[in-house]
Symmetry: C2
Subunit: 393 residues, 2 copies
């Protein structure tokens, strides 16, 4: 399986505008001849004054607003935004929020210029999977570090009636710019901070914890980001700790966790997200918390297949030096689980008052969505996924 | 001096085309309606067949060639290229070579559209330092990993009659694409491979070895790249070792060493390059080899100012655990020197049959070029630089 480093393309044109008090620069980041639609989620961006700053920066522009994009943005809501964009002739979008708002805005940007019904952006038996060829230009103001969506070209949308979360992406759906102001995270509650740390951590693991191919730079970067999150995670989730560097390091690490740096030329195993999405769809548990349930269990069940990299993870990330290889690996998995628990995210279904009824239900959803042979080897069958869910009860 | 992470902008639109047998993609990477000038250096790209592959890929394009760009490209040569571009109406440039050819091509791209005499792109008392506002589009085919020029917007040009090497750069002088084929390094001699490793290593150190500001991602990435170069360096300089992963890791690490990732929001100390450039200008020693002379000596002289980061470097990069802090720091500096020597680069002037006459001569050049208060603190005066040169005799 060790095929070495594969050919790859790296391209990421997003302009990152990082630091304190940068929202005012929206005035020049968006051309003044654009008609801007500002998209956001619930009331927090209004309540904490972020929207007010955005409105002030855009006083020289013509702009409108579209609120109410959900955590796990829904196709139905985004379709309404697409209709508004078309009807009122908006030609620039600005997402103000976290990954859900940014993912949703990406979908609106592509959907507004899509030749077919927007549902056909998706494949997976839901739509026709027609490639995105163009999209409206858009920028983002990030308020919640977690998904990396502010510096990548992908997104995930929920189709409620199908109980499905589906991904999309293209070379034309990178944000033109993203404003990353660490001070905007000062108003986040502990739960969202923890979710951000865990989501970022698992993104890194999914690009790292595969069979080894010898991508040394990719490995070192992944390990460095994991070490950073481990080091700062416990302080980050202290919502009263407004140390600027702490939040800046969190924000930048979360962005790098999924901005197309770590996956270059190396395999990825996105099965934690795959298995986690089904948990969110059926039981409405926060996305990141589903990952905290799945990942430690998955690492235990897949110890053999991922042994070489697990050992490297134990030694380089957790600095475990004592014991046999097997002991080091188990210690690293235990530490991973303990890290999630320390951040406040339980790692078993029972912590959510869910019992063994979940296993069949979740496996059946995996089957329906075609996730029957996942992982970087394609050898994680439904039976293996069943073991992973069971091991997390 | 610890001011924390500064505000920063990150923007890097270069499309990296990494891997085996990718030169053929030039046919589609460059629009067919462009008139292309291919720029290269000496005979090696011709001799080893790289130019033949480029010509074949460009059969659908109108193109011309300009050879003879020197290692340390000269203003006089680049001026001839600029005149050719203007006379024959080339509107796309393609650099085929290492950092010198790419730097030179960047200068030609900017110079061809510059309103004033191209010399005025430079400041430093040589020209008027007029900002670059536009440049011809250009791509690169990298043959020598070392300078990072394939994925950044800066360059260095020599002005022979002034014995000066001067930098330039702008937001419009990023390559549109760069083809990085690790197999193109298989024809490089040991000396150039060693120069590439050392140049990359010192680029990283210059963005890392400053007073600490707590940029955890930046530090971890720098440390990971340094560890990678330390691990592979001795094998890379074995010119007969054509292991693909080895060369791929070298190429990618060298690009990341100076592609605008490591310096975001943190201070930099480019004084090794500053002091080294004067050595090249006066004594024609390879650029990287001048860095191998300067850096270990500089770290010794500047131990006090750089103590906190030197200790971090000792512990994290060289994994030195024994001894007092001072002993760890000295051990790390000794290992750095030994690493350069192992790669075949001497670290003292005497190894080049140069004696203490160099000190006054070099310090006088520093003074002439205004390098009188360098380093991240601006506290490396001419007297300190004199000590650094003396310590390297």
């Amino acid at each position: 399986m060790n095929k070495g480093i594969a050919n790859f393309d790296y391209y990421n044109p997003t302009h990152i505008v990082f630091g304190k008090d940068r929202i005012g620069e929206l005035a020049t980041l968006i051309p003044t001849d654009k008609k801007v639609l500002v998209l956001y989620g619930g009331g927090s961006v209004e309540r904490f004054g972020t929207l007010a700053k955005v409105r002030e920066a855009l006083t020289g522009h013509t702009f409108g607003e579209f609120g109410g994009i959900e955590a796990n943005p829904t196709y139905a809501t985004l379709l309404r935004a697409i209709e508004l964009v078309k009807k009122d002739g908006y030609n620039y979008l600005l997402a103000v929020g976290g990954g859900s708002v940014i993912d949703g805005t990406k979908f609106v940007a592509a959907g507004a210029l899509f030749d077919s019904e927007p549902i056909n952006i998706f494949g997976s038996g839901i739509g026709e999977g027609i490639p995105i060829k163009e999209a409206l230009p858009f920028g983002t103001v990030l308020t919640l570090p977690a998904t990396g969506s502010e510096m990548n070209s992908g997104g995930v949308v929920s189709i409620v009636e199908k109980k499905a979360k589906l991904g999309f992406g293209s070379a034309v759906t990178f944000p033109q710019f993203s404003i990353l102001d660490p001070e905007l995270t000062y108003t986040l509650p502990k739960r969202q901070l923890a979710n951000g740390v865990i989501d970022s951590f698992v993104h890194i693991m999914e690009q790292y914890m595969t069979y080894p191919v010898g991508g040394m730079v990719q490995d070192r970067f992944a390990e460095g980001l994991l070490e950073t999150l481990i080091e700062i995670g416990p302080d980050v989730v202290d919502e009263s700790n407004h140390d600027y560097n702490l939040r800046a390091n969190f924000m930048w690490a979360a962005t790098y966790a999924l901005n197309g740096t770590l996956n270059k030329g190396v395999p990825g195993d996105w099965s934690s997200h795959g298995l986690g999405h089904e948990i969110t769809a059926l039981y409405h548990i926060d996305h990141a918390r589903t990952l905290a349930i799945v990942l430690p269990s998955l690492l235990e069940i897949r110890k053999e297949q991922k042994g070489a990299k697990l050992l490297q993870y134990a030694e380089r990330v957790w600095h475990i030096t004592d014991g046999t290889d097997d002991e080091k690996i188990q210690a690293a998995i235990d530490k991973t689980r303990a890290f999630f628990e320390l951040l406040g995210a339980p790692t078993h279904f029972k912590d959510y008052e869910l019992g063994d009824e979940v296993v069949d239900a979740l496996v059946s959803q995996l089957e329906k969505h075609g996730l029957t042979a996942v992982s970087e080897r394609g050898d994680q069958t439904l039976d293996v996924s069943r073991e992973i869910y069971k091991n997390a009860l």
